[in-house]
Symmetry: C2
Subunit: 295 residues, 2 copies
């Protein structure tokens, strides 16, 4: 949710009954500080910060989170053992994102409070195992008793219900909110999400760090290099820096990185976060009432 | 289900309350004839035949299916318009397998009776879009009113329930039955399925025809060629012929093609088909009773 989930979106989600997360992966410390402050002004509900642990300024960001009294942190892309006890010492609840059962077991050992298990269909950075949400959730459910949050492919109340059937207690939703009115994504990127059809996103850059992207000129260049057998260095050079910002925040739909999940194919309208949440719940309850036992 | 689903497995599944399918994709006409005859002797319940339409002897097989009075055919990997009306003329119900919404719409236009929508996590041949079951089922549900059967990742009653929550009316289960007692897969292949962990299967041969395989020596050779940028011709040459038979039927675990779904990571025991079905139903009902509406 980098470049999408700032204080506007996070507070809107929390005000509508969800748990809004500020995506700190694209933020320098002073920017995160501003977002935390504004988020607190915009909601009196709990909200959290999502923090990829491979981010270079992670130590500074964690100090900020602690000093500003944020009480919930979602960590990803790194070792959950490194920061969990420090965050716990400050009364902060920690959820860590995983893509396989081994990492889920490590999370439990590290003492995290909840696990987010994210499938192959999710947008942005993704696991090397390519395990889908349908397969990942029941497997993670088997290895841990921790609260389990399903991510990847949750684009409707039906999918939310499916995640619960698979054994999750909650869901983490990215793509739907990336296209929300309150998302800080560039309007052109939001328009592009609306236009995306099935088969329009692919997991790319597997040799560098797998990331799900919309097919555009940048994707195609990377894809052709990969097909030709380019190595990690050559790919990193083409990738360069700031591609995600260029695409998602500045709206360059051809040369930027457009991170979004497969469910983008089901998103057809830009809506307020509160409408998204209300529709998810209605759809969830309708789907539940259509299920019946097998005798 | 080539090399796995012969008359023994199909009749066992039908006798246990499922719809058993004979996988004709690996059968010459005289072999299919024998399997249909034996299946009819082993069950008085309905059973069907699964037929990949790209199979070279498909016309002969269809004539056999008609002349032997089989009443249900699942077709895949080809144009559903080609044979559906011919099969209908003989009172045969047709389900066609798709991996995207466009093909689902084509199925409806072709007049098929049901659609199987199969996600990226499924074993064996797979769609180019890489859309997962979690995302594919709600999308296909939106474009068709036909009976919808979910496939890919259905390895437990939980997943079966999830598929229904997503909008399916039924599920097609491969991997669990490939490892069943009555499966004609080689015992060594079944043992390998039991040992498979998450991250052990990958979609391979994308330039030729995408197929999900267990990582073994054969997979590794293909993978290295792909990483080096090998073209379709070079890949086809290494692939050669009979790799699937070699792996799954003859039990060469290193040089053969081992087709199985991601859910193989959840399979830990070789069981009779009737036990598998009984456990699926118990697990489905238990999962359903744990769900509750959101108020």
């Amino acid at each position: 949710m980098i470049w999408c989930s700032g204080w506007k979106l996070a507070s809107a989600v929390s005000n509508a009954g969800g748990l809004g997360l500020i995506g700190a992966g694209s933020m320098h410390p002073e920017v995160l500080e501003e977002h935390i402050r504004k988020c607190r002004q915009a909601t009196d509900k709990p909200f959290g910060v999502n923090l990829p642990l491979i981010y270079p300024e992670v130590d500074k960001l964690i100090q900020l989170i602690i000093s500003h009294g944020v009480k919930i942190v979602f960590t990803s892309a790194g070792n959950p053992a490194k920061y969990t006890s420090m965050l716990h010492d400050h009364g902060i609840r920690v959820a860590h994102v995983v893509a396989n059962t081994k990492s889920a077991v490590k999370c439990e050992q590290a003492g995290v409070d909840a696990i987010v298990a994210e499938g192959f269909e999710a947008g942005g950075h993704n696991g090397k195992e390519e395990t889908t949400t349908m397969v990942l959730i029941p497997m993670v459910r088997e290895v841990t008793g921790l609260p389990l949050i399903a991510a990847g492919g949750i684009g409707s109340g039906r999918a939310m219900l499916a995640a619960m059937a698979l054994g999750a207690e909650g869901v983490q939703i990215g793509s739907l909110f990336a296209a929300a009115e309150e998302s800080s994504a560039h309007p052109e990127f939001k328009k592009k999400i609306i236009e995306t059809m099935d088969g329009d996103t692919f997991l790319s850059l597997k040799k560098v760090m797998p990331v799900r992207l919309i097919r555009n000129n940048f994707f195609q260049n990377i894809h052709e290099l990969e097909e030709r057998g380019a190595g990690e260095d050559e790919l990193k050079e083409i990738l360069g820096r700031g591609r995600a910002k260029l695409g998602m925040f500045e709206g360059d739909l051809e040369e930027g990185e457009l991170e979004i999940g497969q469910v983008s194919a089901m998103i057809r309208e830009i809506k307020p976060a509160s409408t998204i949440i209300r529709e998810l719940i209605t759809d969830y309850n309708n789907a539940l009432s259509s299920l019946y036992p097998i005798s």
